[in-house]
């Protein structure tokens, strides 16, 4: 159920203007993930996690839509992990995810990687 304020919260009142208040995704967590991505990442401006919160929303939407296409193709109504894997395999821009969704190189033709655990 969509809650009033979940979308608008990011925008109205103390949303963007105060950089506090409800966002779709937790900014502190985004910042943590950013910091862990590389030793080089030391300082992050306040706006960067905000931009990412929007970007992640777009990313999730795109990957979900593409995954759902796979679900429909399989004549199902439940989106499964395999659908996500297929969507990743068939979308160039999601190449960076291939190892993540196919750790054993099951479905992808050219995957020669040793699975990392």
């Amino acid at each position: 159920m969509r809650q009033a304020g979940m979308y608008s919260g990011i925008l109205s009142g103390g949303g963007i203007s105060g950089r506090t208040g409800p966002h779709l995704l937790p900014l502190a967590r985004i910042k943590k993930i950013m910091k862990k991505s590389s030793v080089d990442v030391k300082m992050i401006s306040g706006e960067a996690p905000l931009v990412f919160s929007k970007a992640c929303e777009l990313f999730i939407e795109e990957l979900t839509k593409r995954s759902w296409n796979m679900t429909i193709h399989g004549k199902r109504r439940t989106l499964h992990k395999e659908d996500v894997a297929s969507a990743v395999a068939t979308t160039d821009v999601f190449d960076f995810l291939i190892d993540l969704v196919h750790p054993n190189g099951n479905d992808v033709n050219e995957d020669d990687h040793v699975p990392e655990n």
Partner: protein, 188 residues
């Protein structure tokens, strides 16, 4: 697991714990692993909600699919941040800012995101700038913030649904710079 670092007099509790976890390293690593797992992923509820909202109402999402999506999003953040950070380093800057994130998106092939994000970023900065002006002593209302940011989301979100939002107040755009001083002196 604490190994009595810096303490000459280990308290009893620490000693007991130490002896209980004989395979100490693996136990502590496991503990750390659990904590890190939560830290490195975005909450499944939030991720699941975004997924659900873009799918048809009768669609179902398996828990595993949501977990996979969590992993993918974190990977996405790391991937883009790494690129943005590299970019900063080459330009001899220390702080990764919103422009760097947008630049990295474009560079990594997320063309479709770059434009909406740039707009978003622009508005964020605009609002911040206005807010700074407001804080400098203007007595104007914050209606503009709300209108700006609402428009911002509509422009940039592919699936923005405005139902449930509060009714936009009619703030005049010039309110920001009008100083509405209430003069209570007697007038003739």
């Amino acid at each position: 697991m604490v190994h009595n670092i810096g303490s000459n007099y280990p308290n009893r509790e620490e000693v007991l714990n130490f002896s209980t976890y004989d395979a100490t390293t693996s136990a502590s690593q496991q503990d750390l692993g659990v904590i890190n797992e939560q830290d490195r992923l975005l909450p499944i509820a939030n991720v699941g909600r975004i997924m659900k909202q873009i799918l048809p109402p009768n669609a179902k999402i398996s828990k595993e699919a949501k977990e996979t999506m969590q992993e993918c999003v974190s990977e996405f953040i790391s991937f883009v941040t790494g690129e943005a950070s590299d970019h900063c380093r080459k330009e001899k800057r220390k702080t990764v800012n919103g422009d760097d994130v947008c630049w990295a998106m474009l560079n990594l092939g997320f063309d479709d995101y770059a434009e909406p994000l740039k707009k978003y970023l622009h508005k964020i900065r605009e609002i911040d700038g206005e807010r700074a002006n407001q804080n400098k002593g203007a007595s104007s209302s914050s209606n503009d913030d709300k209108d700006h940011t609402r428009n911002l989301h509509q422009e940039t979100s592919s699936n923005y649904r405005s139902a449930g939002n509060q009714v936009p107040r009619k703030g005049t755009s010039s309110n920001l710079f009008k100083f509405n001083v209430i003069d209570k002196r007697n007038r003739f």
